[in-house]
């Protein structure tokens, strides 16, 4: 990416970088990879570390690996015939996510001149192993599980999974939760996308406590494609528009003026530019003003010159790219443009090439990013944190359509797309960066470091607060030195699962050992050593709970931390003890957080936080209370 890593402080010339970065192997479960991309050049790289046990499955094609892309496999349980059997990416997504996490620097990267700069990943010296589980038909769960089985055994350090199910499942009925559980047991952290089901509540996917769940937020670059009318008025539009219409103006009509009467359409229907509802003769050679929908294909196929589409204000937080000039404006502006069209006999307009504006409100969680609370364990806060996932430029497969439309035959080496798929590899890359400094840290410790150093987000810009952004906005440089970590072992997750109702027999099968749930009753998830706190209360119930936690000193040997509690007036939170003194690295100290908020009715979310502070390290955990 050309901007997002700088935006989150991981600059190209940072002094903090270790030679051990090249020992880190990032496993990516995705659509495959384009090995010839400059992002995966192995110039100057040594052979893979000896721990690597994977392979490069060429599939009888001209696919090759190198010292950067050290492994590639493909999985195709349903024998999808739409693609050649190879790890090669013909969709683009896997090349994008891989290069975002760990791509090497590529100068003069751009999407038709937009977002120009040096494209790079977080850990350019780290290795990439691609596990192709997604085909043009989708990503099959048997393939995902096979990829986890291999990736764990191959010796990857971090696994990145930018996909998920639309529906929640219990942990051991979900292939990603199963795979990431076994990865965790082997010391491998899995970074997951939270899903694009927002802004609706309980839409978060990939919510297992042993994996990192990543929401998507904006960066300080916004693509603005203005509309200029014949009367000189200019309206701000949001889109990625690389098509230069020059200094001329072009005839402008309203979709509702091109009614296909013979098809029984009406002005209202054709105003949405729905396929078949429009008189295509009236569209050809015109710019068309449409209500929000899928009208762009209608207008393109009818040889329209471009489209101006109106959308609700709150959906203008992401820019999309199209096959021809398109921009997205607000409904208020659309009303004014319609008034102009109706006021003159010869309405004309032009859609300008995108400008890159600086967005002072960034980062904000994008509307489509899935929201908590957690559908399976309401007392584990999800998503865990947020990272850039809006208008991200990264490498692309030149065989793939840049806009996702089959008709779009353009070939690009870089593309700008949005999704929690794009935020997930940012956290993957950050986790790999932390791993390069602390190769022996557990998955939970790396996760904790990323969560407790996250920059707090502003709830005034995200009304869902922690259900949108979790602990906050990723801060990879600080995550290398978190001071304290909330560590958790595989056994801690077993205790958690016992309290969730899993029985000893099932857990012994899952773990393969003699785990037991004896003495652990059904209960809340408050005692899992999680780096955030969530207290769910039945509507009309009492907000009372005690959370037991243990922190491990990973900072200076002699340090004293004091607890700083921020809470709203109607919540009483105490931390006992409120001071923790350490005398050595690796020392553990326990404390309890007691919450009392009285009786709650219809309470969406109350936000508090607990920060351990030693004068230098700020170890911050959000605490949320809400009614279910």
């Amino acid at each position: 990416t050309t901007r997002s890593w700088d935006f989150i402080g991981l600059t190209q010339n940072r002094t903090l970088r270790l030679p051990t970065e090249s020992d880190v192997i990032v496993g990516v479960l995705d659509t495959g990879i384009w090995p010839e991309s400059e992002s995966f050049s192995d110039s100057g790289m040594s052979p893979p570390p000896s721990k690597w046990k994977g392979k490069c499955q060429t599939g009888g094609t001209n696919f090759t690996c190198n010292n950067k892309l050290i492994g590639a496999r493909y999985y195709n349980s349903e024998n999808d015939p739409s693609e050649i059997k190879s790890p090669r990416d013909v969709e683009g997504h896997g090349t994008h996510t891989s290069s975002t996490a760990a791509g090497r620097p590529v100068g003069d990267a751009s999407y038709f001149g937009l977002a120009e700069g040096i494209a790079r990943g977080a850990v350019p010296e780290a290795r990439i192993a691609m596990y192709k589980v997604c085909w043009l038909s989708g990503c099959w769960s048997a393939d995902i599980l096979a990829a986890f089985d291999d990736a764990i055994a191959d010796g990857v350090d971090i696994i990145s999974v930018s996909l998920g199910s639309d529906f929640p499942s219990q942990y051991f009925e979900d292939p990603i939760a199963i795979g990431s559980y076994h990865a965790m047991k082997k010391g491998i952290l899995t970074s997951n996308s939270a899903g694009n089901g927002g802004p609706f509540p309980i839409s978060v996917s990939n919510y297992a406590p042993w994996s990192l769940t990543v929401a998507a937020s904006s960066i300080d670059r916004k693509f603005v494609s203005n509309v200029v009318l014949g009367n000189g008025n200019t309206y701000i539009g949001i889109s990625i528009n690389n098509f230069n219409m020059g200094n001329s103006v072009y005839p402008l009509i309203y979709g509702g003026q091109a009614v296909n009467v013979s098809a029984g359409s009406t002005e209202l229907i054709s105003s949405y530019c729905i396929d078949g509802s429009m008189n295509t003769e009236k569209i050809e050679g015109n710019l068309v003003l449409c209500n929000y929908g899928d009208g762009d294909e209608t207008i393109y196929n009818a040889k329209g010159l471009g489209m101006i589409m109106s959308v609700d204000d709150n959906l203008q937080d992401v820019a999309f790219s199209f096959m021809f000039p398109v921009t997205i404006i607000t409904t208020d502006d659309a009303r004014e443009i319609l008034a102009y069209i109706k006021s003159t006999s010869n309405p004309v307009a032009v859609i300008k090439v995108s400008d890159e504006w600086s967005d002072p409100l960034a980062p904000t969680v994008v509307s489509f990013s899935s929201r908590g609370p957690n559908p399976i364990t309401p007392d584990i806060l999800k998503p865990d944190l947020t990272a850039p996932g809006v208008d991200i430029i990264a490498s692309w497969s030149p065989m793939a359509s840049p806009t996702g439309y089959e008709e779009d035959k353009r070939s690009v080496n870089f593309n700008i797309i949005s999704g929690t798929s794009m935020s997930c590899p940012h956290v993957t890359g950050a986790a790999a960066y932390v791993k390069s400094f602390h190769p022996n840290w557990s998955p939970a410790a790396i996760k904790s470091a990323l969560m407790t150093t996250a920059i707090p987000m502003d709830p005034r810009k995200n009304e869902d607060a922690e259900f949108a952004y979790g602990s906050g906005h990723i801060n990879p440089v600080q995550a290398v030195d978190p001071g304290l970590v909330y560590d958790a072992s595989a056994q801690d997750y077993i205790t958690f699962l016992c309290a969730q109702g899993y029985n000893t027999t099932t857990l012994r099968q899952v773990t393969g050992d003699n785990s037991t749930c004896n003495g652990i009753g059904l209960g809340k998830a408050w005692n899992l050593n999680y780096p955030s706190f969530a207290l769910s209360v039945p509507d009309g119930g009492y907000a009372t709970g005690s959370f037991y936690r243990t922190v491990t000193n990973v900072g200076p040997p002699n340090s004293t931390y004091n607890a700083i509690v921020f809470s709203p007036a109607n919540l009483t939170i105490s931390v006992v003890p409120s001071t923790l003194t350490f005398s050595q690295v690796g020392e553990k100290k326990s404390f309890v957080v007691k919450v009392n908020g009285g009786r709650l009715f219809q309470q969406p979310i109350m936000s508090a936080c607990i920060t351990w502070f030693d004068g230098k390290h700020s170890v911050r955990s959000p605490l949320v209370v809400y009614t279910t």
Binding site: D30, T31, Y75, S77, E78, E91, H93, C134, S137, G138, C139, W140, S141, A142, I144, L145, A146, F148, D149, D150, I152, A153, S162, L163, G164, S165, D166, F172, E173, P175, I176, I178, H182, A183, K185, K186, S193, A194, G195, N196, S205, G419, T420, S421, C424, T505, T506, R508, Q509, V510, T511, G512, D513
Partner: protein, 89 residues
Amino acid sequence: QSYGEERKVYIVYMGGHTSEGVSSSSLSSHLGMLKKVLPSGVSATDKLVYNYGRSFKGFAARLTDDEVKKFSEMGEVVSVLPNTKLKLH
């Protein structure tokens, strides 16, 4: 084929390896389980899609509804999951 006899891909998830480590015979063990459930004359090797054995236990195979039920009732099986389609985010 009548309803319920159509073969679809299912995941038979059997949890983690025991402390003895990865069983070198996991493939033969999983094929053995399949043979017990499949009707005689149906090749277990042909119906096996994946053998998960490097990092955890289980396999994916083309099964009928009846066969799925039989695996679901086995003590050593944690869950039997249909081969669902997940989406890129």
